[in-house]
């Protein structure tokens, strides 16, 4: 792994008027290879299955960063490149999301989340469907649509604070339970928060409401994460 100073030297050489085309390609490849981990880090923060496309976009982000990086500023190239990588990926996902949720339903999702949070704060337990409909002042059909849309949304924003939750431990128990063997590679690909949620639900046997409370999340967010995780595990099993 190169130091920040070494990366700067590569960029400095790249911008030298004497550099050959072959050497330019070589230097760019080296910088891109050096930042593959960073690209994958940002891809993992989004919950998507089009990883190959996003690696290409992340690479475009690195190339753009190479062109625009100011060597005189006291900022590591990786920090600057991270912003470009994130920009490329988030623009792509915003423009190419496979499921577009109507604005009215999006606003209902927010209303439902808020209503659920206030209900839990007041009653110290999750609402039932009917209680939530009353609390959110939505009819049943609107609530169905909002809940289904919530489950269908498998993109998680980098701005979502849950993405940055500090997860102190992973569940090594997976290694000792035969039933998880077929999906171990897929579990290894999960973000720390996702491994934590999976372990809390299926190893510690906690209910979604308890997980939400413990992690400071909303139950709908836990539900959405769990659905997404299980979909990926199933996808892994059917793909192998």
């Amino acid at each position: 792994m190169l130091t920040a100073g070494a990366v700067n030297e590569l960029i400095r050489e790249l911008r030298s008027p004497d550099v050959t085309a072959a050497r330019t390609d070589e230097l760019k490849s080296e910088i891109i290879a050096e930042h593959q981990g960073l690209i994958h880090h940002f891809i993992r923060l989004y919950d998507v299955q089009v990883v190959e496309d996003l690696v290409q976009l992340g690479t475009i982000g690195v190339l753009a960063a190479i062109d625009k990086f100011d060597l005189d500023r006291q900022v590591a190239f990786a920090t600057f490149a991270g912003v470009r990588i994130r920009g490329e990926i988030s623009h792509y996902l915003r423009d190419n999301a496979t499921i577009r949720i109507p604005r009215s339903v999006q606003s209902h999702i927010k209303v439902v989340r808020t209503a659920q949070d206030t209900f839990v704060a007041q009653h110290n337990q999750l609402p039932t469907f009917v209680q939530l409909a009353i609390h959110a002042d939505l009819n049943r059909s609107e609530l169905f649509d909002a809940m289904q849309a919530n489950q269908s949304t498998h993109l998680f924003s980098l701005d979502d604070p849950e993405t940055y939750l500090d997860i102190p431990a992973t569940h090594s128990e997976y290694e000792f339970v035969d039933e998880w063997a077929s999906v171990r590679p897929a579990i290894d690909q999960l973000a720390p928060l996702e491994r934590k949620i999976l372990g809390m639900r299926f190893i510690e046997q906690k209910r979604q409401g308890e997980i939400a409370q413990e992690l400071g999340m909303n139950q709908m967010a836990v539900s959405r994460r769990l659905n997404s995780i299980l979909e990926r595990l199933r996808h892994h099993v059917t793909a192998v």
Binding site: F202, R207, R234
Partner: protein, 124 residues
């Protein structure tokens, strides 16, 4: 009392239908939100189990029943097996999931059909 029964072809594209029906029926049982979610998940997993053991060309049958706070599902399909294999070993992580989220789970062969009977309930 049977609330809803449905028969679908053995194809993954119908899983979404199964999940949606489970949600509607679970809402009628006035399940807590997490149980409502897990009623869908359990129905989904039951469908996957049937798909695994179904005879070629067999359709999948589902019947949901409710009582306050509880969702019951009886699912079945034609199956040519004479006995079921070791379920935890065969189903792997899917077994862990379905057995975790159900308060009752029975998977058995009867009259040339494999049955998955399960219940999901709100824990108050």
């Amino acid at each position: 009392m049977t609330e809803v029964s449905v028969c679908v072809p053995n194809a993954p594209e119908y899983l979404r239908v199964i999940r949606q029906i489970a949600m509607v029926v679970g809402a009628k049982a006035d399940l807590l939100l997490d149980a409502l979610d897990e009623g869908q998940l359990a129905s989904d997993e039951a469908a996957n189990i049937l798909m695994k053991f179904a005879e070629p060309g067999a359709s999948l049958n589902f019947e949901w029943e409710t009582e306050p706070g509880v969702l019951h599902l009886r699912a079945r399909t034609r199956c040519s097996l004479s006995h079921l294999p070791d379920l935890p070993a065969t189903l792997g992580y899917a077994w862990v999931i379905i057995s975790s989220i159900t308060s009752k789970l029975e998977i058995f062969l009867e009259n040339g059909e494999v049955h998955v009977d399960l219940s999901v309930e709100s824990a108050i």
